[in-house]
């Protein structure tokens, strides 16, 4: 990197070699309009909005693609440039249905904003567009081709950010359109519903099925918090209007995922169908009936004081609640642990961060299934594979990653992988609970490797830090406990263990009705992800903040607060 000096609109600007004119101009505070450009994506140069004049060049250049050069003289706002920009906008408006008043993004549309900026007050060209069918086959994403300007941001995002390559272009010329796979409806395609396409679409061509018509940019609130759906800990930009959550975006350039989300983080929480528990419930004559907090807590305190207690935490809650839980269990002399299985250790190498997936020259995935359990990690692995990083799989179930792999073996052949990775400068071993001791031994020659352990569940590392070890063996099968206290948060997790329930008095602290809650003797309501304050610990071991987006409903109390109250009652 060396410094390059150029002038933009007569202003001296210093840029870095390799930067584009657009980057240099924006860094210098000079605005150049863009439409197909997106800072997270490769440059495309198709919309012609960022045309600038470069002295000595035969044609106008797209600022988003043209690299800066020493002594370059750039003009960004001449009459000719503005005429060309307006022309392209007029053509875009003539191509399809861009009647803003019927469009759900009207007001938040980049095309519309540019039309205002360049004074498009009438249609200059005829609009003979043919209506294309809207594709609403996907539960989360609606494709409205009649609003599409073919900027290909969605396609580039699908390829470059998620590495899923579902979206592409069909046909050519004026028949070109965005489509999925072999031109099938999105709902029947290989789409993984990560929703990144929605987040980058500049117009109303890709619509969030849930929040459409829900409110404009100036009417909504943005809250940044940490996703609690798995252990990756992606940063969320939660967009809400008063107490309604409209949609969730990823936060670009944040660790660990870089702004990429998955269906579990972006959509599923907003499509929650389980019944919320809004106040404490106690079992009365065999049935769970609503009760006041005082009554419920008194019953719980009494049981905790008298019985042999087993406390079990799932990771779907905050570090603060887990610490309070561990404290309470210690105070009552009970046994406490978490439901998630133990994460093996590799025994060599240095820990890595999630973003290191993109900065390594060999990836080994062992005993893990990230495309299912830590999807963003899975997507990043595929992205690395697209860039040419070899990916080898050991004991990884089929399910998508094999298409990106150079090698896929069962554990007994792990040494083959070790051999292949031996030449790598900085191999990365990504493993999870399925890592077998024999595989770890076979990989040991890669002593210089770094590793990324994919913690199971959601906040199992937070639970671990609170002293809640995985429970197994006879603790789960014995009947020596007569009080079971479950700290479930948003519910028990897939892959979690469950003790024998018969006979014991069961206390469940949770947000939703569930089979386990139905069996409980006392149910204490808990907040959901969007209502929480506190922290979680992600699979990198980083402590990440939880910020409330909406208030807790009346009758729901924060878990840590409830648990601390119980401690004072002991």
């Amino acid at each position: 990197m060396s410094e390059v000096h150029l002038t933009i609109n007569g202003l001296q600007v210093t840029a870095q070699s390799g930067q584009t004119i657009l980057e240099a101009a924006r860094a210098a505070g000079i605005d150049i309009p863009t439409l197909c450009h997106h800072p997270m994506l490769s440059n495309h140069g198709a919309c012609r909005m960022c045309l600038v004049e470069v002295k000595g060049m035969r044609t106008l250049q797209t600022a988003c693609t043209c690299p800066v050069a020493e002594g370059m003289e750039v003009q960004t706002e001449t009459d000719e440039i503005n005429e060309c920009r307006k022309f392209s906008l007029e053509l875009l408006f003539s191509e399809r249905n861009h009647y803003c008043m019927f469009c759900q993004v009207s007001g938040d549309c980049e095309l519309q904003a540019l039309a205002y900026r360049y004074g498009l007050d009438h249609w200059r060209y005829p609009r003979p567009y043919e209506k294309m069918a809207v594709d609403a086959s996907d539960p989360y994403i609606i494709m409205e081709p009649n609003r599409c300007i073919l900027c290909t941001r969605c396609i580039r995002a699908c390829a470059e950010i998620v590495a899923n390559h579902t979206l592409g272009l069909r046909e050519r010329g004026s028949a070109t359109m965005v489509m999925a796979d072999l031109d099938v409806p999105l709902g029947q395609s290989s789409c993984v519903e990560c929703g990144v396409c929605l987040q980058v679409c500049p117009t109303g061509a890709l619509i969030d099925a849930r929040s459409a018509y829900g409110g404009h940019a100036e009417e909504v609130t943005h809250t940044q918090t940490t996703c609690m759906q798995c252990s990756v800990g992606c940063q969320l930009d939660v967009i809400s209007r008063s107490t309604r959550i409209l949609r969730i975006h990823g936060v670009w350039n944040t660790e660990p995922g870089g702004g990429l989300l998955c269906v579990d983080g972006r959509f599923r929480p907003l499509y929650e169908t389980r019944e919320r528990i809004a106040q404490p419930l106690v079992r009365d004559h065999g049935k769970l009936v609503p009760a006041g907090w005082t009554e419920a807590l008194a019953i719980v305190a009494k049981k905790l004081k008298s019985g042999r207690v087993l406390g079990l935490a799932s990771g779907a809650t905050s570090n603060e609640a887990l610490v309070a839980f561990a404290g309470l269990m210690a105070q009552v002399g009970g046994k406490a642990g978490q439901t998630m299985p133990a994460l093996p250790t590799l025994g060599f190498g240095q820990p890595a961060a999630v973003q290191d997936i993109l900065a390594t020259d060999y990836i080994i995935v062992a005993g893990a299934n990230p495309l299912v359990y830590q999807k963003v990690v899975g997507y990043l692995i595929r992205r690395a594979a697209d860039r040419g990083t070899p990916v080898a799989l050991i004991d990884v179930p089929r399910g998508g990653l094999e298409a990106s792999a150079v090698l896929s073996v069962s554990g007994q052949y792990a040494a083959t992988v070790t051999e292949q990775a031996a030449q790598a400068q900085a191999p990365l071993i990504i493993y999870s609970v399925g890592l077998k001791p024999g595989v770890a031994r076979a990989l040991k020659p890669l002593a210089h490797a770094r590793w990324l352990a994919l913690a199971p569940g959601r906040n199992s590392l937070g639970a671990r830090a609170a002293g809640l070890a995985p429970l197994e063996g006879h603790d789960l099968t014995s009947s020596r406990f007569d009080v079971l206290f479950f700290l479930l948060g948003e519910g028990s997790e897939e892959g979690g263990v469950m003790p024998r329930l018969d006979g014991a008095f069961k206390i469940v602290q949770t947000a939703y009705r569930s089979p386990l809650a139905e069996e409980a003797d006392v149910v204490l309501p808990a907040p959901i992800w969007a209502e929480r304050s506190g922290h979680v610990t992600n699979l990198e071991g980083k402590t990440l903040p939880l910020n409330p987006v909406v208030p807790m409903p009346d009758g729901v109390r924060d878990e840590a607060e409830v648990l601390d109250t119980l401690r004072t009652m002991m």
């Binding site: 390829a159 050519r172 796979d181 072999l182 089929r398 298409a403 896929s408 069962s410």
Partner: protein, 166 residues
Amino acid sequence: MPLDFTKPTPPSDDKRWKLVQATMRRWGNHHDALIETLHTVQESFGYLDNDALTYVAAALRVPLSRAYGVATFYHFFRLKPAGKHTCVVCTGTACYIKGADQILESIRQAYDVKPGETTADGQISVLTARCLGACGLAAAVVYDGEVAGKQDAASTLERLGKWVEQ
């Protein structure tokens, strides 16, 4: 090698897939062989159907969207079977001046097919070509692979008429 993933299997045990596999092998099964491979599929089977695209995409590790995008971008590729006979009308500049569009129009009127379409009875596919490089023979029409020069609407209809009579 202890690989536990296998190469995708062809859509059928048709021997022609061997030709397709040979093309892919010749280019190292690399994804840039997509266009060459689709050429072989079309030469062998006459057109590209979804099964073929899916297989080639998997074998070359190309996303389905790219296989389809390429197959529809290039006009040489056909996604539907062709008719029994094909009639390719050259629409290069020289042939245009010599009445290529009149030829196409007369075919359209006589058989109700536009360029790129096949007659309802599956007899004749009508295609256009962007200059066959036979400008000296304008207007040129290719009847079942055989180039005929100095064609006009009347001679073309006569030729197509013989196909239909058969």
